[in-house]
Symmetry: C2
Subunit: 770 residues, 2 copies
């Protein structure tokens, strides 16, 4: 008997040796193409280290479960895919490992796609340990998706993806037919690095389906990923098929939410949402549709409101069109914890019955959530929250059971949805608080809802079977051991660069070209100090990095006279350009601009900061170009005078707009003839931060006399506008501003002398964009 086993083992060994892996080392695209053509199950194609320029790779092969076909870097991270490149997969059981996409963009609609053509979908294929960094289209308005899933059982894991600034989701899963449903795709262990604010929709980091797939079974698993500053739009993840899982992900300072947009029956379990005081846009979980289970999630300092609320349970539209909002029903929210979040529970979000006059009936979200349960949750605040629950519509369709609030030990009574209690919480790290006294009886009063026994563990894996408490954390010991280990996410060979701290200061005299040269020499984040008192700038200064230009002597402003050609700008803002000017006086004759972005290839954002400056005599202070986008424009203690136009951010149509955060504080506008501030968005949808315009403590004198439409501060279509503590004097204008009452438009303490009025229009009729 033993001999027989030995014999069989030997045969098996022989058999498996015969099938050993064949390595095919390829040095260029031609060799690669040939290798792919001839590939057999078990083969291992190895890409030579180095730069692969314009690599249009269609990787087709039929591997098997036991003998997949691999395409990999000779050394992980040392194979750079650059230029006009992509990698599309088709066939079965293919693996891709260790590639680095940079310095280029895909000429197609995807970089990595799990489909080559309609008859060559990928199934059981995996891309792992790969980086895509800034591989973004040159034109922000041209759509692509970086990673596109088709087929079934495909996987993306341990990848690092960052820097998409053009139109289109970073990752999209398609469900276009029976070959592409019930997918069991795995999107796991990835690091989704920063994605800048895009302005407007189609900038999700992950989108699973579309409105037409809302009845389709997805079974996509998005788990154990790290999302950092994924700020593209209001939806970090947009779930649009059924039965998907979102588990154990970390959302770190992302200005958006995990949105259950058109999907139903999703499982949202064990996720961590970390925000902070620096932004009011960090979001949580937004709930639409039916049958979701939201369990064991932890939220810290998520301060987003309304659509971005830490928990936003939306109102639906009765008999909604396919692409709008299904009424929420049968949703379970249990065992979650919110710590120091602003108004964490918002129920009936999106209720807009008052807009019935300006919107069609099929847009009116009048149907409140029904048949849902919110139970066993904890809200813990170290400072009192005035309104931990905001009821936008009706909350009686939700059963609230055994929820606990410790509102800095101040009793909350507005809605009867909590027990008030006092918790002893241990601060484990910057963002993690866990109950210290597990014997606190109030923690042990657990409500057993229908099927709750299927929730077997807490957020950190502690069993709920033996001992069970409310909130996300059931076990202090395991919580204390928990640490975010960024190494677990993305490729093991790659670490995202930390912000450099070795900021250098350059000195620039007024000698010809010296300032331009110093800008060229400076690295991202450096500072240039101007040592003389007068500079003549004959040609536009190109700004394509983060740079500060300031007077060395903080007490004496430096004068810069721009003498460039007509229609050119003193500072030419390039993609990723980020300039801060301090204590400068900018002077020009007419027909010139202070700042302007490129007219084309403005593939990424720019930002603009000024403090203590004066701008005098320009045609435009800033003139946006079509497709350009300013992440931030912050102007402080600055005088703008004798200009033909001020800041014009109005170059785009159809819902695109030209800037996100625009702030003026303690500024003086004097004799700016038109477009003093013109911030415009044409058309309306909700997948947007804004834009956002704040004007504080500023004065406007003798401005706007050439404005054809008679409005001094134009904000048509802008969602967030605040005008506070300003003085408007002797501006020959009909309206100082026309605000949109229904949206987040406000004004306070403004002094208006001989300058028209601020008018508030509650409802504005705009083109709907979907």
């Amino acid at each position: 008997m033993k001999n027989a086993i030995l014999f069989i083992s030997a045969v098996l060994l022989l058999f498996s040796c015969e099938k050993k892996i064949k390595s095919i080392y390829v040095k260029d695209l031609e060799e690669l193409e040939l290798a792919i053509e001839q590939v057999a199950p078990g083969d291992d194609i190895v890409l030579k280290n180095g730069v692969w320029q314009d690599a249009k790779i269609n990787f087709y092969g039929i591997g098997t479960k036991d003998r997949p076909i691999t395409l990999r870097a000779e050394t992980p991270g040392k194979v750079f895919i650059e230029g006009a490149s992509f990698l599309h997969l088709g066939g079965e059981y293919l693996n891709v490992k260790g590639l680095y996409f940079r310095n280029g963009y895909s000429p197609k609609n995807a970089i990595i796609r799990y489909m080559i053509g309609e008859d060559s979908t990928a199934n059981h294929c995996r891309v792992t340990s790969t980086v895509i960094d800034g591989f973004t289209k040159p034109n922000r308005l041209i759509n692509d998706r970086w990673i596109v899933f088709y087929g079934k059982h495909n996987k993306l894991d341990h990848c690092y993806i960052t820097g998409k600034s053009n139109d289109g989701e970073t990752l999209r899963v398609f469900f276009t037919g029976n070959e592409h449903i019930n997918t069991y795709h795995q999107i796991v262990d990835n690091y989704f690095g920063p994605r800048p604010r895009k302005g407007g929709p189609r900038a999700e980091t992950i989108r699973v389906g579309d409105s037409k797939t809302r009845v389709s079974p997805g079974f996509v698993n998005v788990s154990n990923n790290y999302f950092e500053a994924c700020n593209g739009e209001v939806e970090i993840i947009s779930d649009k098929t059924n039965f998907n899982s979102f588990k154990n992900n970390i959302f770190y300072k992302c200005e958006g939410s995990l949105v259950l947009r058109h999907g139903s029956y999703s499982s949202v379990d064990g996720n961590i949402f970390i925000g902070g005081d620096e932004s009011d846009f960090y979001g949580g979980i937004r709930v639409v549709n039916t049958g979701h289970w939201i369990t064991n999630n932890y939220f810290y300092k998520i301060n987003g409101s309304n659509f971005r609320a830490p928990l936003a349970i939306m109102n639906g539209i009765p008999m909604t069109p396919l692409n709008r909002y299904l009424q929420v029903s049968d949703v379970v929210v249990t065992y979650n914890t919110w710590v120091d979040c602003k108004s964490p529970w918002q129920i009936g979000v999106g209720q807009n019955i008052k807009s019935a006059d300006v919107l069609p009936i099929s847009e009116i979200r009048s149907a409140p959530p029904i048949r849902s349960i919110v139970a066993n949750n904890i809200i813990y605040n170290t400072k009192k929250d005035e309104s931990p629950v905001i009821n936008h519509s009706k909350i009686d369709g939700i059963r609230f059971k055994n929820n606990l609030i410790d509102n800095n030990n101040i009793k909350y009574t507005t809605y009867d949805v909590f027990q008030n209690g006092t918790l002893k919480m241990k601060k484990i790290n910057d963002w993690l608080y866990a109950p210290e006294d597990a014997k606190n009886p109030i923690l042990n009063e657990v409500y057993e809802g229908y099927d709750f026994n299927k929730i077997q563990n807490d957020i950190f894996g502690s069993s709920r079977t033996d001992k069970n408490t409310i909130g996300a954390i059931n076990n202090l010991f395991l919580a204390e051991k928990f640490k975010i280990d960024k190494k677990k996410y993305g490729p093991d060979w790659f670490s995202p660069k930390e912000t450099a701290n070795n900021q250098k200061v350059f000195l620039a005299s007024s000698a010809e070209n010296e300032l331009a040269d110093k800008i060229l020499q400076a690295a991202d984040g450096d500072i240039i100090e101007l040592t003389d008192s007068l500079y003549t700038i004959g040609e536009s200064l190109k700004i394509d990095k983060k740079i500060v230009i300031r007077a060395k002597d903080t007490k004496n402003k430096v004068k810069l006279v721009f003498t460039g050609t007509d229609d050119s700008s003193a500072f030419e803002m390039n993609p990723r350009g980020n300039i801060k000017l301090e204590n400068l006086i900018l002077i020009s004759s007419k027909n010139k601009f202070t700042f302007a972005p490129l007219k084309e290839k403005m593939f990424s954002n720019y930002s603009l900061f000024m403090e203590g400056c004066t701008i005098n005599g320009f045609d435009y202070v800033l003139k946006a170009t079509k497709g350009s986008f300013a992440d931030s424009i912050h102007i402080k203690n600055t005088i703008i005078k004798n200009c033909k136009n001020g800041i014009e951010l109005a170059a785009d149509l159809k819902g695109d707009y030209n800037a996100e955060m625009v702030t003026f504080d303690h500024c003086e506008f004097e004799n700016v003839k038109g477009n003093v501030i013109n911030f415009f968005r044409d058309g309306y949808d909700e997948s947007t931060i804004g834009g956002c315009l704040n004007v504080y403590n500023s004065t406007f004198t003798r401005c706007g006399n050439a404005d054809s439409n008679g409005i001094l501060i134009q904000t048509r279509g802008i969602v967030n506008v605040t005008l506070n503590n300003n003085t408007f004097k002797n501006n020959p204008i009909k309206l100082v501003a026309l605000l949109w009452g229904e949206k987040n438009n406000h004004q306070m303490n403004n002094t208006i002398i001989n300058s028209g009025i601020i008018k508030i229009e509650d409802q504005q009729k705009l083109n709907i964009l979907y």
Copy 2:
């Protein structure tokens, strides 16, 4: 060792003996209630044989899988539940067996309901071997459902259900929350007997969900059932959740379809649809939504068109509202056979772009089917079909592969969707044809679509693995063995009564009350012959069964003079009343009606036939009452004259209407002052046959002079109208008729002299009812 096993066995035996079934014999409702209160797992409650009057049974108990709790008839079929009765179940593992519901109705909204109250849903409960016969509400307009499913894993099997004539589906499955989805309900081996035409919606035999559950997983199994003359409305089965199965059912002469209305991903396999020449309303499968697999189905003489086509693949509405039509996509139709059906494939059904002026955009079905495949099907016609395929919209979103047509051996070329071929078919029985020559190469050209290999068997269970042919039948031998065995469906103790053939003839003289007495004595289907020449009817004759009243001497008409009180009718039509008058002359003075249904409790249909009669001097020939419904009104060779009104079928509102099939053939209308024919439906939906008005070969003279609206034949809202070969002469009226061009309204060969015109209005604007 052996001893130990013996010992353990003995202990187990002892243990199981101890747990033996406890039978609780109950004689009345009080005892039953007590028994239910005290019941334990494994108990068997036995209902004493006999009539149980007003039995309001809430059967609550917690059985176990191994030890269910049973409630059963002492002798199956000998326990009659009558009066105001119902049986609602709550708890787990309950069985109900052998009951007979008759002579009554439920005072609640259900007879059998798998839920007592919100906190007592039934799970794992079964009702078997039970009959519900005519247990219908006294008022047709009051809604109930006879069998209502909630919970999960419930079963209805071997039941016989017939005769529901009031508003509401016969069987409904609800999905109102997480406790009621993923149900795995079993609706199997039942006999769904005749359900009469209801007129209008909410008369499905089975409805699984509603429009709001279109995203929900149902997993309901409706298999091996027999449906006979389920004519309630256009949908026999309405599928409105996902992942449901409809397998091996037989639809025998049902005037409706299996409609995949709001559900997706259903499996429709191995069903048999049998129609016939006698009706144009027998339907097949109607397809909406996504991901259905329609395989191995057999259709014989299904002549329905449009919504009722043998295969109706609908157009959808772009971004449809929740309750309207989702575009068809990803549907697979393969291995089906159509024999002698009329235009069996209708694609883009419901396309109504031309109605854009009268309907809101959210009603316009402009989106044709996409990404679908129709392959390996057979159409076989023993007479040539001019248009086996009707393209209502666009068919290029469907791939047609390896379909075969034998159009009585005449080549079909209109659309390139078939191979033409000649089949040798064996006629196995009245309705079943199977290919005789399995070696015919054209049968063996099978297209292998995506995932087709999951279709392992043909309609009769023959394996497709070894040998495979197109069409539903893969194996002649198994087809020849197939026979419909009605005994397999419904309870084994019950057989639906066959139509009696022992029709009796009664003779009635003109002696006082003799006619009325004979009507009383006659049984359903009998005939009364009038032997004298003149009868005076002093009181309304009550008609509550099927009866023929005719002159004994077919050559001499018999005169009946009605002298009843004002506003009474010569023939009072009661529920299920069905009268045929032959060779009679009916005479009255004013203020009397010839026919009228009851004003209340008109719980079932009536029908009215006349041949060779004359009606003279009545106020109304027929005046419908609110909620009354005539299945058929056929009047032939009959003179209607000197009446104030003719046939008025206009008593209802909101989509209800008063008759289904109304036909006049070779009739003469003379001096009928108003409402000559007034057939009215207010409001519009599509879940309806009609009504249907045919007027052939008739003359209208000097009629309509008192008609206020100026229309002689009023058909507002009626979907099917045909006016052929009639003569209209000297009618002082503006319009003979106002027809609805968009619907099935037609006129031909009419002669109009001095009588206005027939006007056709293509689009009519009606209130939509949903």
